[in-house]
Amino acid sequence: MKLCNRSNLRVTSFALLLAMFSACSGTTTETAGSTTAVQTNGETITIYSGRNETLMSALFTQFSNETGVKLEVRYGDSGELAALLLTEGDKSPADIFFAQDAGALGAVESAGLLSPLPSDVTDAVDAKFRSKNGKWVATSGRARVLIYNPDLVASPPASLDDLLDPKFEKKIGYAPSNASWQSFVTALRLTRGEAGARAWLTGLAANKPIAYEKNGAVRDAVNSGEISLGLINHYYLYELISKIGADKVVAKNHFFKDQDAGSLVNIAGVGVLASSKKTEAALSMVRYLLSVAGQSYFAGKTFEYPMTPGVIQFVSLPSLMELNSPPIDLADLKTIEETQELLERVGLLTK
């Protein structure tokens, strides 16, 4: 995997060092983790993971080695796993649903398939990043950013609306089929209403943005100067830096920090199935994901935002609170189908 080159090893070991350091201070979560481990040793729990195997398998192995709880992991697309859980109903073999986005968790929650999490778990995460009913919590965050090429745009546009300026015609890149783009547009619908979202999207379409297959391709196009701006997630930039070295990366991230959809922080999160008969072991997994070890893994391997205090980010990022993400219920991001309909109507999806 490409994340194994030298500069990345450096950041990873740095993150691990930080983890060890902060583990000394963050004793509360650690003790909670180790007491449950004793009771659940040797049990096998089943995880439906919407997060990819190449990213997550090392963390899962680490968990099993440390707690003795064995894992059966079923990987899939978060949405498809949600559909699977809805079809299985209360007979599901899954104990844990680990999803790539809040929408999938929200859908499973509203079907009544998740059980409430204990308060030590929910309290660990800011209220903005967990279910209103305490049935799932975020495990890491991804901030939307405007990636820009400073050689082409001296100062980045201050708000989403400034992107509609005709001077950016054919200069903005996006990834129309990507889930994170669609979550961003869903957030736009939630913050500005249907008409407002439609107006902004129509304006963007008039500026003829350039469609790419993946976020990584948008980033590369901005970095090479093919286009000036790109709407993607924050970590793509750091992925590139760790891959080719900071000296070769021109592009920069701009955080809007204005409570608009451009400041959305989407999450990956976890919930325990109500039908699970191994709740204790399942909770030990949830606690592990929120522990310093788990959180540092996300920060180091995927460059995502940790969700609990005490884990220091190794790249200089604005803090989670500084980001000023929009005041929406993340579970409402499940209305992606309406978003796709809207995108198709304004001509930004099927082109």
Binding site: N52, A83, K91, E337, E341
Partner: protein
């Protein structure tokens, strides 16, 4: 045909069982569709967006099927009737697009020409992926059809083109219709190509309703509309096919090869070369390029492991599907009547369903009825059997229809019982068709992604799931070795299939 025989129970019972198995997804679909009440389902159907989808899907099906008929028939003619050298090899190569999953070839095209997205790109990729469904039966029929009629037409002063169009084409019409039905049902159910080309068709929206809408009711209702569409297509094909009279004996063995004028061979060869270059060249070159970029990080023991599991799952699916398809094929070919019609309809009607729908219906039935087998190998095979049953039934039926019924009569007149005759005469004569059908199922199972992802035993990886796993992460190089391995593995049943389906000796 005027022979009406009562089918033995030993054939009828398993054939009906196959029909019931194929219809099982409908139970889930009805339940899911009506779970929000009848009104919600009706609202979904009369929605304006649904109408647009329906029109777009039908248009795509129509265009791809027409293109496949043209490309498939021309290629079949070229490998059977022309005097080109290396025709047997050419035939096998021309069948190779069957070995390439639509999601892979679509991705290869898009990464080569990004502007190809949309209706145009989807039509091209689907045509390249499915013309062999027309080519193979047409080639088989051309081989067994009497070339004398074309010779007579030519001797009466009819031009080379006209003779082919007026005489030969009519002779192979049943094969064209049968192939068209398979193409049409495939186009209606395919997700990989339309998703990559970002063309909103029924399957795209059905997937969206599950994945993005978390709305199984909507997905199920739309899927039921696909079933209705399939029913229409099946009835249409049946009408068109039975209008054509069939040859009764197989005649004297004679060479089918004709020295056709260059004005016919040259354009046909261009079509064949284009099919080869676009159908296998583009995806193969792309995959090798991906593989070369990603070799440094490939875990070869994992590649090898997935090859083994793809092979076994394919083989098990092939065997199970053949066993279930055999009685249906015999019933359809030898005991025509209302019972045969109903069984045929049941087997084919769910072939229009996208993989995810079949997989979730098997989840629904499996978890409620056979809980211990849930997420175990038998249930995965079961799901694949539902999907590939029609392909095998078609191959078996055609093969039996083409073998000489007189031999069965002789066997009966010598005092051999009906069942014994089926085992000793009918089935051995149909072995090439059975093998071809089995190969189609093996091939399909190796390529099938959504069913495998949803129904596989946890932690079992096949080539298809590995391609999926590595393509989700932005590093596309890792996909290459799996893509190349899948194409080469799937090439084996494809070669077998095209060889036995066509190279059958003239009886």
């Amino acid at each position: 045909m005027s022979r009406v025989l009562r089918a033995p129970v030993a054939i009828v019972a398993p054939a009906m069982l196959a029909g019931v198995v194929a219809l099982l997804p409908l139970i889930y679909l009805m339940d899911a569709s009506l779970s929000q009440g009848f009104g919600a389902a009706v609202r979904e159907i009369i929605d304006a967006r649904t109408t647009i989808l329906l029109i777009r899907t039908i248009l795509l099906t129509l265009i791809v099927t027409t293109l496949c008929v043209m490309v498939g028939t021309i290629n079949a003619w070229l490998v059977v009737r022309s005097s080109l050298p290396f025709r047997p090899v050419l035939l096998i190569l021309l069948a190779m697009p069957l070995a390439i999953p639509s999601y892979l070839s679509a991705f290869a095209w898009v990464s080569w020409i990004p502007t190809m997205k949309g209706f145009f790109g989807a039509s091209i990729v689907l045509t390249l992926a499915s013309y062999p469904y027309v080519m193979l039966p047409v080639a088989a029929m051309l081989r067994s059809a009497d070339p004398m009629l074309e010779d007579i037409a030519r001797s009466l002063g009819v031009g080379a083109y006209s003779a082919i169009l007026q005489v030969t084409l009519k002779q192979v019409a049943p094969a064209i219709w049968a192939g068209s039905l398979l193409v049409a049902l495939y186009v209606v159910s395919d997700f990989g190509a339309v998703a990559t080309m970002r063309l909103e068709t029924f399957t795209w929206v059905i997937y969206g309703a599950y994945r993005a809408g978390f709305n199984p009711t909507r997905a199920a209702t739309l899927a039921l509309m696909l079933v209705a569409l399939a029913l229409l297509l099946i009835l249409l094909e049946k009408r068109l096919r039975t209008r054509v009279s069939q040859r009764i004996g197989s005649g004297t063995a004679r060479s089918t090869v004709r020295r056709a004028p260059l004005t016919v061979v040259a354009p046909a060869s261009i079509i064949a070369i284009t099919s080869l270059g676009f159908g296998i060249g583009v995806p193969l070159i792309s995959s090798i390029r991906w593989a070369r970029n990603g070799t440094a990080t490939t875990d070869w023991s994992e590649v090898f492991g997935t090859i083994i599991s793809s092979f076994w799952i394919g083989l098990l699916t092939g065997t199970a599907t053949v066993l279930l398809a055999l009685p249906v094929g015999i019933l359809l070919a030898r005991f025509k009547g209302p019972l045969a019609n109903i069984t045929e309809g049941s087997v084919f009607v769910t072939h229009s369903l996208p993989g995810v729908v079949v997989a979730l219906s098997v989840v629904y039935l499996g978890i409620n009825l056979v809980r211990p087998l849930y997420q175990q190998l038998p249930l995965l095979i079961f799901g694949q059997v539902i999907i590939f049953l029609p392909l095998v039934v078609g191959a078996v039926r055609t093969s039996i229809e083409q073998s000489r019924i007189a031999l069965e009569d002789v066997s009966r007149s010598l005092g051999v019982s009906r069942m014994a005759t089926i085992f000793r005469v009918t089935i051995p004569l149909a072995v090439p068709g059975i093998a071809a059908g089995g190969a189609l199922a093996v091939l399909g199972a190796m390529k099938e992604l959504p069913t495998t992802l949803i129904l596989r035993p946890t932690s079992v990886e096949t080539l298809a799931t590995s391609i999926w796993k590595h393509s989700v992460v932005s590093d596309f190089g890792a996909v290459g070795p799996y893509a190349v391995a899948l194409m080469f593995l799937a090439a084996l049943p494809t070669a077998l299939l095209s060889h036995v389906a066509v190279a059958k000796s003239v009886k």
